[in-house]
């Protein structure tokens, strides 16, 4: 049993330096996820502000409409199709860094979900807080920035953490445009050794560990933010 395990391990990871597929893939997965998260936050923040401003004040009507179209289209179609569309249609005849394509696709996709998470946070803050800010002489932007946002952020942190976990795992479809991410790395090994267990398990364990580390930091952040509650 252990003899076979060792032989399998050798064949799948050591022979021909196959572990490099996993390590390089992991690097790409982390790179794509990190930048897609940043893009998603920026986009989501912007959309959430526009949408809640419209709801609170009735301004920015046109922008609000645009944002609603964005949310409907992005949330209504599979991320894999968005990825393929961006790669084969939007950048139809250009040589482009594929990681950039993936970052754009996953970032734009994630932005739609983050926008609604942020908006739910903003709307969860009692209107009295808003009125209090205005009565203290803050203008709309200042009230948003100093009164509403800090409270809203604390409320949405668990949902936001959730979204990033989903995003990290969703990048596993990047292999469709021949990006060598963690999943594709495992697939390449699988196509060479014809064994499924080792490469897939390795990829699964690495995803799991990444999510666990991330969850740990989100929990610490939550605890710190909650310390001001008392």
């Amino acid at each position: 049993m252990s003899e076979k395990f060792r032989a399998d391990f050798y064949q799948n990871f050591i022979e021909d330096d196959r572990w490099k597929y996993i390590v390089n893939g992991l690097g790409n997965t982390i790179k794509i996820t990190l930048f897609a998260v940043l893009l998603g936050i920026a986009l989501g923040f912007l959309v959430a502000i526009i949408r809640s401003t419209f709801e609170k004040t009735g301004k920015l009507k046109l922008l609000n409409l645009l944002c609603r179209v964005y949310l409907t289209v992005i949330r209504g179609t599979p991320v894999l199709i968005q990825l393929l569309l961006i790669y084969f249609v939007v950048f139809g005849s250009v040589r482009i860094d594929k990681s950039l394509v993936a970052i754009l696709a996953f970032g734009i996709n994630s932005g739609a979900y983050v926008a609604e998470i942020f908006r739910s946070g903003i709307m969860s803050i009692d209107n009295g807080q808003f009125e209090a800010g205005r009565s203290l002489g803050f203008n709309y932007t200042q009230t948003m920035l100093y009164i509403i946002m800090p409270q809203a952020f604390k409320n949405v942190l668990p949902a936001l953490g959730n979204e990033f976990i989903v995003l990290l795992k969703e990048t596993s479809v990047a292999g469709y445009i021949a990006i060598q991410d963690l999943t594709k790395g495992a697939d390449i090994i699988r196509s060479r050794t014809y064994s499924a267990f080792m490469p897939l398990m390795a990829a699964a364990v690495i995803y799991l560990v990444m999510v666990m580390i991330f969850t740990y930091f989100v929990q610490r952040l939550e605890r710190r933010l909650r310390s001001s509650d008392h």
């Binding site: 139809g92 005849s93 040589r95 292999g175 021949a178 060598q180 697939d187």
Partner: protein, 289 residues
Amino acid sequence: MKKQVIALLTAAMMVGAMAGCGAGGSDTTTAADTTAAETTTAGDTAAETDTEAEAEDGAETTAAIGGEGKVLVMATNAEFPPYEYHDGGDIVGIDVEVAEAIAGKLGMTLEVEDIAFDSIIPELESGKADIGVAGMTVNEDRLKNVDFTDPYTTASQVIIVKEDSEIAGPDDLKGKHIGVQLGTTGDIYASDYEADGSTIERYNKGFEAVQAMQQGKIDAVVIDQEPAKVFVSQNEGIKILDEALTVEEYAIAIKKGNTELLDQVNGALAELKESGELQAIIDKYISAE
């Protein structure tokens, strides 16, 4: 009280189930008996017919090719579509049909033996099998142990490029972006160029690699010859390079020194090539995707 009720119910159900089993069981037995009886009769008849047929066959064969056995045993490893693979209970594929056609020419009946690929040559050496047909490439190592007939087909990994591409041959692939389909022979061979600074982009589907090349995202695609022909015929502005990346010739292995059988098989192969039967068999399995 409640427990007792449950126990009672359970017991009742079990009795019922057992009764059901009993009845069903006796029925089955009867049925099985009848079938068995029938099968035996049928089997006997079949066996008789077989023997007769073989006897006749044997007589003819002996007359036709002088002293050669009446059964041609083919050793193969049926895990290599489209050359040989299991389809339902049968082993089918190009190699099997080619061997059948050869056996037909020699007036013999073909028997297919499915064994591990690396056992095929030992099987031939020990005389357990007559011919080894398993998409075998002729190479130096194998020639030390067995003789090969004339090749019956070639399998090439070709390079597809845009018509205005500067890539003219395999050597020009160095340092370029090469598209392949994940896990194919083309992928394995192209991966050797990674050491020369080439980037291998492994798509899930062959046509996606071709599409990416047409859009200028990659420089070349390495893929099997047959699908390559289809891609080039369906898309403007791309071509297959004359010089293939690799060319493998598949031939039939025969025990070393058995020149009599070797000559006969070569003769049969020549006839099949001449009549176009060989190409018809290949076309049947390798068609446009």
